[in-house]
């Protein structure tokens, strides 16, 4: 089992679109795959038209593999399951802080799922909290989508500093650019500057209005429009990632 966290401190950078499309691609190439929606907003659950069961909440999520397994739902795509988010996840940090070893909790809870899934993706909320730290410990790779802007670069630096200050393994972090509009000079310059930068993937995902329409399709773009520019970029990104894992 390989675990990939799609993470950014900053919101609106395309984390959910990345997690949804990459998990779909993983389910096609190396099935089966699971996507864990950790964001209380539940965007990836929404994209797959899945709502959590009424009985499911953050407490259940922290209780271990059995409770988690019971709440996993099949998506409409073969070999791709989803653990839906619940609004109670907004309290995950508080609940985690009451656990004995909060930073190792997620890793421990998901260990048993390794028998069932080849890939697990975390669609993370945009913040840097105890849950984020638990995600870092549980992930083999932390994939950071970034819009080529100065603010995004700043959050990336902040993340690296945090890893260094807390003695975490920074080599897990891999960044890539999303929503790239090459006609914009800043995008073009930043892309050029970070072209061979350590920790950055060479594949980027261009801005494509089709990605925004995933909210209408409520399905991975790669499933609905595999020939779109963004779909092709996600496919190439997945190929690059697979070589790393």
């Amino acid at each position: 089992m390989k675990t990939i966290a799609v993470y950014s401190i900053k919101g609106g950078v395309g984390k959910t679109a990345t997690a949804v499309n990459l998990s779909y691609l993983a389910s096609l190439s190396t099935p089966p795959a699971l996507i864990c929606d950790l964001d209380p907003q539940g965007a990836s659950s929404y994209y797959f038209r899945i709502a959590s069961s009424k009985k499911y909440n953050s407490e259940k999520f922290l209780q271990g593999a059995k409770k988690i397994y019971r709440n996993i739902k099949a998506t409409d795509f073969q070999h791709l399951d989803l653990l839906p988010s619940d609004i109670s996840y907004r309290n995950l940090d508080i609940e985690l802080s009451e656990e004995k070893k909060p930073r190792k909790k997620l890793k421990k809870n998901l260990e048993e799922l390794g028998e069932e899934y080849r890939y697990i993706f975390f669609d993370c909320p945009p913040n840097l909290t105890l849950l984020s730290e638990s995600v870092f410990a549980a992930s083999d790779l932390i994939l950071v989508p970034m819009i080529p802007t100065t603010l995004s670069i700043r959050t990336y630096t902040q993340l690296q500093d945090f890893f260094e200050a807390n003695g975490l393994d920074g080599s897990k972090i891999r960044a890539f650019f999303t929503m790239v509009e090459k006609r914009k000079k800043m995008h073009s310059d930043i892309l050029h500057e970070y072209r061979n930068h350590e920790g950055f993937l060479s594949q980027s995902v261009p801005y494509n209005s089709e990605v925004e329409k995933m909210g209408i399709y409520r399905a991975p773009l790669n499933a609905v429009h595999p020939a779109s520019v963004a779909s092709k970029a996600y496919s190439a990104l997945w190929t690059e990632l697979q070589a790393l894992l």
């Binding site: 038209r49 709502a51 709440n71 996993i72 099949a74 998506t75 073969q78």
Partner: protein
């Protein structure tokens, strides 16, 4: 979209006036989308004794695969590529693998018989919830029997297979449907299997080679013996078709056991029938048995062909093929002859006469048959005691050398006792009878190994003496000699362990069991 949850099936009531469409049954907000439609044939197999069914499995041929299904859930345990659809075939024809391995753990001797073929017309749908998310697959199956007549559907099923995580919703929905006036209760796969077999006319033909009588303690023994003889006659008749079609060698085996059981009881329980009639029928049953003696010996040899051949070094194996071919050829002729007899008017009239004799309820003349009216339990106790004591007496007398004739005779004593115990078993406590029979079986196993080896040795010896001085007699003689050595060693092993096996039967524990049997039959 993985459908890993258990399928829930509901049966449409056979007398339903309306056939509801799937969309008419859904709760508000849900919808169905048609996926596919199609039809396929499913052919059900099992052995004559329903070995797979007894082990909780159904064997179904679907397209070019042979599937082993779990009777409780209907889910596939394993399957194998198998393109043919014969009326019957030995398990050895199935390609090597998990399927064959599991089946051989149920039976090694019995062939699989095609019980019936059904045609399934299926309409498949996806069920979407109010988010337009697929939550289950729905199939509407119409089942009809494939046969010479135009197929008429005998059942309509709605099957729901929830996707992972949606079992609760579908369970609740199915529960609400169960109260729908057109839909019957939930139908498990086992119920469906029983329904199919019922419509195919197979369900009432369950067969068991065991004698399962419920005797009455105080009933006249004449009545109880007739009950047994009717049961053994039924068994013989049940096996006739299998013998004629040559499905497997167990049909003849069971036929002969039923015949032997009848003869043995008639011989051991004296004074139950009028002597003149008894003598006549005993003679006729004996003659009937004799007609298949050699045929059965050939069956036994052929059943051991593989085991015997592989016990020889590879260089000597090819010359054995000729030998077994001769046995197979002789067996074919004997089988044909026996089948001709089974179809002959003399056999049919014997059966009719015999049936009339054993169904005649009135007690015979007490002067001619003084024991006929005695209570069954009294006769049972006396007969078991006599047979057991005789077995002990003869067994203890067997010399240190344990000669062939001594062991042959003791084996017959064992069989006599075994038939008595099985006949009267319903009169005794299960806790005493079962271990008593088990102890006896252990001794019989030793003697059976010995006698089987003796028969094979005789046959091989005859073969050795009859080898023609043509072809390559040296190799044939060498392979026959090799086999005789191996079988002789097995026979000697059985001979050497006989006294140990007999001591185990003649021990305090077994004595206690038999004492309990003959002193405390169950109360009325």
């Amino acid at each position: 979209m993985s459908a890993q949850q258990r399928t829930i099936s509901l049966m449409l009531k056979p007398d339903a006036a309306l056939h509801p469409e799937p969309h008419e049954m859904l709760p508000p907000g849900w919808q169905v989308i048609h996926r596919s439609s199609g039809s396929e044939e499913r052919t059900f197999y099992d052995t004559f004794e329903w070995h797979a069914f007894e082990k909780g499995m159904a064997l179904v041929k679907i397209k070019n695969r042979f599937c082993m299904l779990d009777l409780a859930s209907g889910s596939e345990i394993t399957s194998v590529l198998f393109t043919r659809k014969p009326a019957f075939f030995p398990v050895t024809l199935i390609p090597e693998g998990e399927f064959k391995k599991r089946l051989l753990s149920c039976t090694t001797l019995r062939s699989l018989i095609r019980h019936c073929t059904i045609k399934t017309e299926t309409l498949s749908y996806r069920i979407l919830d109010s988010n337009e998310k697929t939550i289950a697959f729905l199939s509407r199956e119409s089942l009809s029997l494939v046969g010479p007549e135009k197929p008429e559907p005998f059942a309509t099923l709605f099957s729901f297979t929830p996707l992972k995580g949606y079992h609760e919703e579908i369970e609740q929905f199915a529960a609400s449907l169960s109260s729908h006036e057109e839909v019957a209760e939930r139908c498990e796969f086992r119920d469906l299997f029983a329904l199919i077999m019922h419509h195919a006319g197979c369900s009432e033909k369950r067969y068991s080679p065991k004698i399962q009588l419920h005797l009455e303690r105080d009933a006249p023994v004449h009545e109880s013996v007739r009950q047994l003889l009717q049961a053994t006659l039924t068994q013989m008749q049940q096996n006739e078709a299998g013998i004629r079609k040559d499905i497997d060698s167990e049909f003849l085996h069971d036929y002969r056991v039923a015949l032997r059981r009848s003869r043995s009881i008639l011989k051991q329980l004296k004074g139950v029938f009028e002597l003149e009639a008894l003598t006549r029928y005993q003679e006729m049953l004996k003659e009937l048995g004799k007609r298949s003696n050699t045929l059965r010996d050939r069956d036994v040899s052929l059943l051991q062909q593989t085991a015997l051949a592989t016990s020889l070094p590879p260089e000597l194996r090819p010359s054995l093929t000729l030998f077994f071919n001769e046995i197979a050829e002789s067996r074919t002729q004997l089988h044909r002859k026996f089948c001709r007899y089974l179809a002959s008017p003399s056999y049919r009239s014997f059966l009719e006469e015999w049936e009339a004799f054993i169904t005649e309820p009135s007690l015979p003349d007490p002067l001619q048959a003084p024991n006929a009216s005695r209570a069954t339990h009294e006769v049972a106790v006396a007969a078991i005691k006599k047979a057991w004591k005789k077995l002990l007496r003869h067994g203890r007398k067997i010399s240190r050398e344990a000669t062939d004739s001594e062991l042959h005779a003791l084996r017959i004593d064992c069989k006599k006792l075994r038939y008595l115990l099985e006949f009267f078993s319903s009169l005794f406590g299960h806790k005493t009878m079962t271990p008593a029979i088990r102890h006896l079986k252990e001794l019989q196993e030793n003697l059976g190994n010995f006698v089987d080896a003796a028969i094979q040795l005789q046959m091989l010896h005859r073969h050795l003496l009859s080898l023609p001085p043509t072809d390559n007699p040296t190799l044939s003689a060498a392979s026959t000699g090799g086999l005789m050595t191996i079988i002789y060693q097995k026979q000697e092993k059985a001979r050497n362990t006989f006294h140990e096996a007999f001591r185990a039967f003649d021990d305090e524990k077994t004595h206690h069991l038999f004492h309990t049997l003959i002193t405390c039959p169950i109360e009325p």
